[in-house]
Symmetry: C2
Subunit: 458 residues, 2 copies
């Protein structure tokens, strides 16, 4: 029995997130990302399609690792211009009741105290529908926007992330008791001061007094999403993540990663089913197969190779335009001329050349979760992937906004519903309950963050 | 000829902002501050009343200077619990077209790069209706929430504020040209990279590379509000502020401060009329004078002395409960036992005792801009204040939410309109144009921030 699948709309407060060149489609409304109405329309449609969430990616720097500067990223609208992801959530929450909202926020550059309050505010305003995608950031330009010469090294970023999360749990879970707000007008007591406490955190990276400024929200800690695939990233996932975004180049890769993630969570003392896993789904549904093929041909025609290369160059730190095509990626990394770590090397299988990497970055149909066809054909594919990998759901990659989402809702959702793989209505109103079942809007007991409840372990 | 007056609704994302004890009123809906709908109702009513803005105060710490801890502030809901001010703006923007939104944000604890993007995002989402109230923060507890032992000293906070503002202007005004976004699908150019530049700021407090991540919004730089009354605060106002919030204990004080602010701005090379001034208005309108008096009596009855004292203790750093009533405030400051600076001393006239200060903090009818009565009587008072001081408008203090605003819109607005002192409809859709007239959504040429336009002076 497969659990109900999670579908999340993979979004970003920008023109071009991961489908580069597609802003040129006459059907694209991406340039309207600066309008409130754009986001409210997105949210209403995602809720009509019974999605778990709108999942907002983010970067806080420009991709300037390709051709020696940010020019290509600017020309191709590769994640620049972009706007803040948190600020579109309240407007979307106002037109929805059940849809969740996940925003990406980095533990590396901004202080935990104000992020704690922003997250609590969003959990209040959405009435328990907020999730946080924990990242440590990776663009060198981002580091230079915050007073550093270059990125902190990988181990240091993750050590900082662990402590950052601890500060947040202390504020979210430990600082206010559930019954702290009494609102007793006759006695003149709004909050019982005996049920609120400072956290007095003093660690290697942070000193934070508290108390938390926000009263407890429905979920307190937002649902924790995470995507790190390195060993240190996996350690963060095992301890903290409730939903893990998994990558991989084959079905076997995914199956192995997913099993590893569940093992990690159990080894960390968390029960089975404590973590859900997600992959990125590249789906091109149509009324008929020919209809879907025509769409795919249009997407391939509009895809911008330069856009993908600027994105890949910024992300991996390797400027593929700077090397002969037959160069091995492993040699570039070994040369030490690129500021890089094991995570980058792990993206490329041994023997990958610059030419291979170029092809890999410009084709959208090479991942294992690619399907094209009628709703029935796509539902078949999804069902197969789920059975083979044990994955719990997907972030839907968009080619055309709003077309991709409209097509998915029209063609694929009814097919998945017929098979019992997809909800026919929302069962709950908090995100954590929609993911993990009734009665659990808060972090489960076995989760590391729960240890601070009632002011314990502060 | 008096210019049209500015009215702003003085708000905060909290239960008890400045009218302590009033949450106990059976008419109060303040406990709903965690709901989106609360803010959307506030905004719709303020726009119906043709207000300039909803002006959101903020603190990022607890008032713990009274009776040795935050207990009183918690019990009395003195600005705790509180939530983030920026995040309610998008929901309010979604139900309004002309109303502006001013949020308080401190230059002391968070990095400028991400604040620049948040402000640009809000200016985009509101279509040019965002204003920023620049503060440097003042609560010792706030400092301890960001890794410091105590507040930075006053001079250092303001030196940092000047540089912080420069970084922001470089990002907002200098990094992208107006015609940078070309969106030319045929040529495959979203942004012309020749019209976007890094700022490469390197100063005493900040190093920020850029480019700014957001494309230009309607106003670019949000309308700059400021409230500092010290000499260093006034220097910030003279150079940067477009709207200055003025304090004072008499009409003469206000008149002198307002003249001083205008002189400062002109000395800084800014034209006459470059700055608008605001005071806090304490108005209790009623259908009849007796109706207003009954309201005032209720407000006085519900006022919480402990709440005001917790607020004053946190703000001045002087715990008034710790001294005999006849003690001179000047002696307390001179003792050096309170961590204090000239700004605090300046709040108290010579000869003020602890007993005087107590009285001052618990009465709401002692300021010069207090009026009670029919709409006509209140309009008379307002007209008098404006003629005597030259002030441009007011932040309306609330006693009961939503009652105070409803009363003002019902009783006072029509009277002010009859006299030509108040708009009868919004003339513009950006905040800066509603304040300074048509054709000026951007900072005026003489403003310091305008010097970075086109990448000059970076």
């Amino acid at each position: 029995m497969i659990r109900e699948l999670s579908f999340n709309l993979f979004e970003m407060n920008t023109v071009g997130h991961i489908s580069h060149g597609m802003w040129r489609s006459p059907q694209s409304t991406r340039h309207r990302y600066t309008d409130l109405e754009f986001w409210q329309e997105r949210a209403a449609l995602a809720e009509a399609g019974l999605f778990d969430t709108i999942f907002l990616a983010d970067v806080i720097g420009a991709y300037d690792g390709y051709r020696g500067g940010p020019e290509t990223a600017l020309r191709e609208a590769v994640q620049i211009p972009n706007n803040d992801p948190l600020l579109v959530i309240p407007a979307m929450a106002a037109v929805t009741k059940h849809l969740g909202f996940v925003a990406t926020f980095s533990t590396t550059y901004e202080p935990p105290f104000t992020f704690a309050r922003r997250a609590s505010t969003l959990d209040h305003l959405t009435k328990g529908r907020f999730g946080w995608n924990v990242v440590t950031s990776y663009l060198p330009n981002a580091a230079r926007n915050f007073g550093l010469d270059d990125e902190l090294d990988h181990a240091q970023r993750y050590a900082r992330a662990h402590e950052y999360l601890d500060v947040l749990y202390k504020l979210w879970e430990g600082s206010w008791d559930d019954d702290a707000v009494v609102r007793d007008a006759a006695a003149g007591v709004y909050t019982d001061p005996g049920k609120v406490r400072r956290i007095d955190h003093s660690g290697e990276y942070f000193r934070v007094a508290g108390p938390h400024l926000s009263e407890p929200s429905l979920q307190r800690t937002p649902v924790i999403f995470q995507a790190g695939s390195s060993a240190t990233g996996r350690a963060v996932a095992a301890k903290h993540a409730e939903v893990v975004f998994v990558g991989g180049s084959s079905i076997e890769d995914f199956a192995a990663s997913i099993a590893d993630i569940h093992r990690g969570a159990e080894a960390a003392g968390r029960g089975p089913g404590a973590v859900r896993t997600l992959g990125s789904a590249v789906l091109i549904p149509g009324k008929t197969r020919a209809h879907a093929e025509a769409k795919a041909a249009q997407y391939q025609r509009l895809s911008s190779a330069e856009g993908y290369l600027a994105h890949a160059g910024g992300g991996s730190g390797i400027d593929l335009a700077a090397y002969p095509p037959e160069t091995l990626i492993s040699e570039i990394i070994a040369s030490g001329l690129v500021g890089h770590d094991a995570a980058t090397a792990a993206r490329y299988t041994p023997g990958t050349t610059v030419a291979d990497a170029l092809r890999e970055t410009t084709r959208f149909d090479r991942g294992p979760f690619f399907a094209l066809g009628t709703g029935e054909e796509i539902a078949d594919a999804i069902e197969g992937w789920v059975r083979e990998t044990g994955i719990d759901g997907f972030n839907l990659r968009q080619f055309v906004t709003p077309g991709t989402l409209e097509d998915f809702v029209e063609y694929v959702v009814p097919e998945l519903q017929k098979r019992g793989l997809y909800r026919t209505e929302y069962a709950h109103s908090t995100l954590r309950e929609n993911l993990f079942g009734a009665g659990h809007p808060r972090l489960p007991e076995g989760h590391h963050g729960a240890r601070y409840r009632g002011g314990q372990n502060l």
